[in-house]
Symmetry: C2
Subunit: 402 residues, 2 copies
Amino acid sequence: MLKVKKFGGSSVRDKERIFNVARRCVEDYRAGDDVIVVLSAMGDSTDGLLEKAREINPDAKKRELDMLLATGEQVSVALMAMAIDSLGVPCISLNAFQVAMHTTSTYQNARFKRIDAERITHELDNRKIVIVTGFQGINKYDDLTTLGRGGSDTTAVAIAAALHADECEIFTDVDGVYTADPRVCPSARKLKEITYDEMLEMATLGAKVLHNRSVELAKKYGVDLVVRSSLNRNEGTVVKEEVKVERMLISGVTSDKSAARIALIGLKNEPGIAFKIFNLLSKKNINVDIIVQSIGRDDTKDISFTVNQSNLKEAMELLEENKTKLTAQRVEAQEGVAKVSIVGAGMQTNAGVAAGMFEALYGVGVNIRMISTSDIRITVLVDEDKADKAVAALHDKFIPEE
Amino acid sequence: MLKVKKFGGSSVRDKERIFNVARRCVEDYRAGDDVIVVLSAMGDSTDGLLEKAREINPDAKKRELDMLLATGEQVSVALMAMAIDSLGVPCISLNAFQVAMHTTSTYQNARFKRIDAERITHELDNRKIVIVTGFQGINKYDDLTTLGRGGSDTTAVAIAAALHADECEIFTDVDGVYTADPRVCPSARKLKEITYDEMLEMATLGAKVLHNRSVELAKKYGVDLVVRSSLNRNEGTVVKEEVKVERMLISGVTSDKSAARIALIGLKNEPGIAFKIFNLLSKKNINVDIIVQSIGRDDTKDISFTVNQSNLKEAMELLEENKTKLTAQRVEAQEGVAKVSIVGAGMQTNAGVAAGMFEALYGVGVNIRMISTSDIRITVLVDEDKADKAVAALHDKFIPEE
């Protein structure tokens, strides 16, 4: 079996953790598997490098930042090779140049274009464990690029796809994907399986296990992902196209407390107003989430939407400045709100889910401020201090006990 | 003018030093020069990486050590690019892959085979300062290699040769090459010029300014080297094929206190004995320096030679074990000795130099234990506590005051 195993920075932060990873790889190797390991930079070493860069030049060119940051993963893979070697198993470390991980030219946020399988295959054929730098690539100028957040997950998936691996394991500090955050919802339980689409909705909504780009890539190439802990031997969660076990209606309940709500009140009811608002915000890179438009009094309309709390101040200033142009009578902000969502491919064929959700929230006295839906998700905006109660109630309602 | 400027680890050890280097490069650039900068890893960061490696695996494979160590220079060049950029001058950092610095396959001690000029030339044509990682290369397997001690000097010379640079400046923490160690000999003065061959003799004998491999390479390709300080604007010393200023008889006086002397007494006077002795030592990688053979009593002979003090114990054990096979009656060791040398291309055409040297030493009561000579060097072995006195006396005798 050809296995790709990805370990994040905290899994290789010191000698003890490095050997923990080394032993897991050696086990698979000795069981006869071909093993490719993808690693991030050690612990917080990337932050250390960024701090050095900021000290020299706070506006450093992205091209040079990537040149700098790419050293982090190279240190990890070289040390891992030394650890695995000391356990008596042949292995080799490879960086983005050696594998030939071709990406787009965008520094700091590149995307994979093509991975050459040749060198890795050659080393696997020699029965070596192959240890590859995550997070980095090379572009058409032969310059180093980095992939942005969750980059090493994406590297693992891209390599698994290029080499037609049988399994791509993403090791994290949690056991897998849970039906809800166990800290909020003690009855939350780990999912055996989840579809790519469900995982994408969960990731967007605050379940910080896998990054969307890696899930999208896995979906595109049909790579089955296994999310599991690097600290124990629990089974983890498989992310795949079609879930084969008996379908649950809902796979998970998530909450995101970093939201804030903005409302523009008394807008003229004429075409183009919404475009103007969101064009203005997008030019400043302010991402807008749930959008609700409603008819106001006197033939005006109101538009409200959520932004991340970190963007609230900038968004409000921008909208106040342009209030007249946007024909708004008033701009209101509300902090202290949270998005609570239920996600499940099962709801596509079951009409009663939305009603069930609203009923459950009503039952525990949670007021709904906004509603947004997709094929496999229903999100409501609630007061932040009610979010945990809402999650628990929805979990009780939709997730059957094991 | 095309200039290659090489700065060692101490010249880029912190923000202040990095900007000091950046400003020197920018000055040349603004004066119209094309500038290539070659850098070592920052301060003692290479030692830090080696320490990490030792912690994981004291017998780490050299291939993986090179993969690890090569990150050090990559950090330096990226940070330097950020510094130069912040001074408003276009620049780009390049590593061994990007330049295509082809070396032999020997990890930890590779030698340059070929440097592709293409990428560097392209960047220079765009009027950028080009910042290149010293010390590292890639071999035919596409693996990273490092060049061993003094590697970054060698990188600078190799690039200067490949691009037919007009000047190759090696910046160190001293002003240039001195006629003697100024700490030992206060009247020592800086040389304006010195030949490659003289520099090679000086380097071997303990003047720790340039490493032999870089001088050999400079000689091979006729690259003029300038040795100067990164901390001041003094002129430095030019190392070249032919010195044009009025020749001095002697260019420098050096001493090396790390020597020890071994004598094998009463060897049978038959062919092959010397071969056996030095073959035995070379198999253990023990370098032997001055060798003297003399006729002993009773048709026997004595052979004595110097080794580095660090090899003395191992050498003595080896020789004691094999005493019978080597036909030696006795093996003696002597510590507390030093090599003192005078170096100068001028002595080739002047017969009186050796006699003058012995006279000067006799004049200050220094006893000579061994003598060794080359075309442009005379070395004597003296008691260690007399070495400084010997250097001063020889300097007074041979080096005219300015």
